[in-house]
Symmetry: C2
Subunit: 471 residues, 2 copies
């Protein structure tokens, strides 16, 4: 199907809003009929002369609102809007769960940092939830303290002691509904009049949280050792966010010397803090653990942050932070009026998952599983047609590595070509902010959500496509 | 035990911080021993010449941190801190759940707006959670859209249509981890450069959310019809928060004329909005329903907000808001990067609870239950020794009413006297901000969390105490 829309007269709308409205109107007016296939994002973008991201945003919104649905490896289709707009009675249609993920449209999605669904310890989790329902009938109906259920915070403190060598009091631990929520709490705690520094390239959501909270954000470039301390100084940053155990997206591990430099920077002024986001440190594959910033932070300048999204599932929505002791009073004064946003049943279940040893077992199992996947992916690449033109980097930690490809086309062209073949891959260059020199021909290989078959098929497709490109 | 602390040299600490630190130090240094009873909040406050609230804040913090625990009707006791500070291994002690509620210390707590734990449909809820674990294995591991799972938003839309006569598209509904979370999202959506107006007297957490988000808050007094429109104008409010179905704490219902005035006020300027917090509208006991502001809001100026805290349980942490259609684009642009903070399992369970009819049944059952409690409480008051000196007000809606008592002492003295007899009760005057004329001798009677026995015993104690006071 060919769809053409004019962008001449879009008023104050952004491009994606305009596109979204045009398509929505055509669906409502039945110009595009239920079941019809919409153009692929890339071809649509090309035809309209706009970016793929714009089409993606418009499609995402249409999917969120139920006007469009997607089918694995087939594409985007128009919903039957009768079932959307009639609200005569409550219709629960299991198809309407609309939890179709992007991944299902691809042979393999190397851009997704999801955990592997099939590896989730569903039976144990369900058992623990059932046990908690039986054992905690009364507790489940009484609000936990603002910082989270004590039993959970104690379990986390025990875990941090044993596995991250962090000796913290459980009362320093604040439980929240995901890392974004806790970043927002930090802005409320330290003030949105502070200057927050994020890594460049970095995780895009981070700066969005600061912007949504009306705080000033500086994008601080990385040098070969990690976030640049000189740049933190130059930009007047007061709160620096960094993931020294495994930077996203570069995959770099910050060496101990830079860690001390960072702590030195923070110690120079009272209002300086470091947020250490340790999001996937559990999955270090090779080599010696480098101590966390928090564990060598004698001046109490580090707010340590971690999540159960990688280690349990992204849908449990639990993260936690460890506040320096001197910030506890401020926290209790300013923010303890908030109810803990995580349902009691989930807090108690995670506490039990940890304290009964399932968490440790699960992490160990997953580390082995992911290591095998990484090894398989590297092996497949090495025996593929792209082997002699590829170089693998930063494969020692976390759930992705970087591949450098000796391309004779632009990163965007390569990504487009792969997309058309059913492979979703992101260039490292897409994660850079502003006009700084970007890395070229480097791509993220997230392997955590893929099956063995997907890895094999994807590398074969990539290899073939790559050898055609080189000719 | 007598504890005396000096407040002469407290530096930049607030009073409660100072008190909290003094007690904590004495616990750590073993000046106060494990198991020792701390003074009651009221007597401690009196001895130190500080307010009860200050002692309460200090005690709450000590409880949160595990230094102090409370025993039903007995008081506050010092914990064995060895069990707190040793973190050699993960200790899960069920007593450490520390979910002891304030209520348990009282014969009856008329200040608590909790739902009645014993009435929670635990069997059905556990059944639904188990079913969801079985039926949605895959969906449970994939993130829901930012605004919440479509199946839940559709169930809510159906409920709003059927029971609140609200015809909204499900995509206008945004699900969040409690009302406080959603108030925070609104500040991020509309901007913290706006002036937010809250009711005076009102729900204290509301203004705390705005302050924590660095937004300007004006406390707008209520006249006999509800929030004053003239005052909204005078104070330059842009976003007004109100609960027209059942104002907290006065219990007043805003008449239709004032509702139109409010909508008129909002329509005068583009950047004006009304947040209609419909927190316990399901429990209107008598008389005709007055339409929600949202249902008569042709100009789309109302953000409708409701919660499952009152209707299911405060520990499920789900609330939702309905955004005006023209704010949807802004929401998607600014805030849809946030993951929905509610765990998928809870979203799916609430959706099923609604769509399978349990929610309606539960509300109807609870309305009858609460109506019986209200009637019993009024009946007991009417036959008690205070009957001829008491007047009951605003008993038609929600889960509390107001009692006027013809006292010959101050509100504070009466509250203190009741506290010593095991009755916790709050004066309406405690909810006022600033120097405005306060209501006198009016008290909140929250009856939702009490048992029949508690109601009878409490009224008997109050009646006796009251007759002594009058002599």
């Amino acid at each position: 199907m060919m769809l053409t829309y004019s962008f001449a007269d879009i008023g104050s709308d952004s491009l994606y809003e305009h596109l979204y409205k045009c398509i929505k109107n055509d669906i409502i007016s039945r110009k595009i009929k239920p079941g019809e296939k919409l153009p692929s994002k890339r071809s649509f973008a090309k035809n309209l002369g706009i970016s793929v991201i714009t089409v993606e945003n418009a499609y995402d919104q249409l999917i969120s609102e139920g006007y469009v649905y997607s089918i694995a490896k087939k594409g985007f289709f128009v919903s039957d809007i009768n079932s959307i707009t009639s609200k005569k009675k409550i219709v629960v249609n299991h198809e309407n769960l609309a939890m179709t993920s992007d991944e299902e449209r691809y042979v393999a999605d190397f851009s997704s940092n999801r955990t592997n669904i099939k590896q989730f310890p569903f039976t144990v989790w369900a058992k623990i939830l059932r046990e908690c329902l039986l054992d905690y009938q009364e507790e489940l109906l009484i609000n936990t303290p603002s910082g989270g259920a004590l039993v959970l915070r104690k379990a986390i403190a025990g875990y941090l002691k044993e596995f991250r060598d962090l000796d913290v009091d459980f009362e320093q631990i604040i439980v929240g509904a995901g890392t974004e929520y806790l970043y927002g709490q930090i802005v409320q705690l330290l003030g949105n009049d502070k200057v927050y520094g994020v890594e460049n390239p970095g995780f895009p959501k981070m700066s969005k949280v600061y912007e949504a909270s009306s705080a000033e954000v500086k994008h601080i470039f990385l040098d070969s050792d990690g976030i640049s301390v000189a740049e933190l100084e130059r930009e007047g940053v007061q709160v620096a966010c960094t993931s020294p155990s495994h930077q996203f997206p570069t995959g770099k591990i910050t060496p101990i010397s830079r860690r001390y430099e960072l702590l030195g920077w923070a110690s120079k002024k009272d209002d300086r803090y470091i947020i250490e986001d340790d999001y996937d440190s559990e999955f270090r594959m090779t080599g010696k653990m480098i101590p966390t910033l928090k564990s060598i932070d004698v001046n109490e300048k580090v707010i340590y942050m971690n999540t159960f999204s990688k280690t349990i599932s992204n849908t449990v929505r639990i993260s936690y932070m460890v506040l320096p002791k001197h910030l506890m009073d401020l926290y209790y004064k300013k923010l303890s009026f908030y109810s803990c946003p995580v349902p009691s049943i989930i807090q108690l279940a995670v506490a039990r998952f940890i304290s009964e040893g399932y968490f440790e077992k699960h992490i160990n199992r997953m580390r082995n599983f992911y290591k095998k996947q990484r090894d398989l992916l590297i092996e497949e690449i090495n025996k593929s047609e792209m082997a002699q033109h590829a170089k693998i980097k930063e494969a020692d930690a976390g759930l992705h590595f970087i591949i450098y490809l000796n391309l004779n086309c632009s990163d965007e062209e390569f990504v487009g070509k792969m997309e058309r073949k059913g492979i979703r891959i992101c260039a490292l260059s897409e994660y850079y902010q502003g006009d700084m020199p970007k890395s070229e021909h480097e791509f993220l290989m997230n392997y955590s959500s893929l099956s063995e078959e997907q890895i094999k098929e994807a590398v074969m497709i990539m290899g073939k496509g790559f050898s055609l490109l080189k000719k």
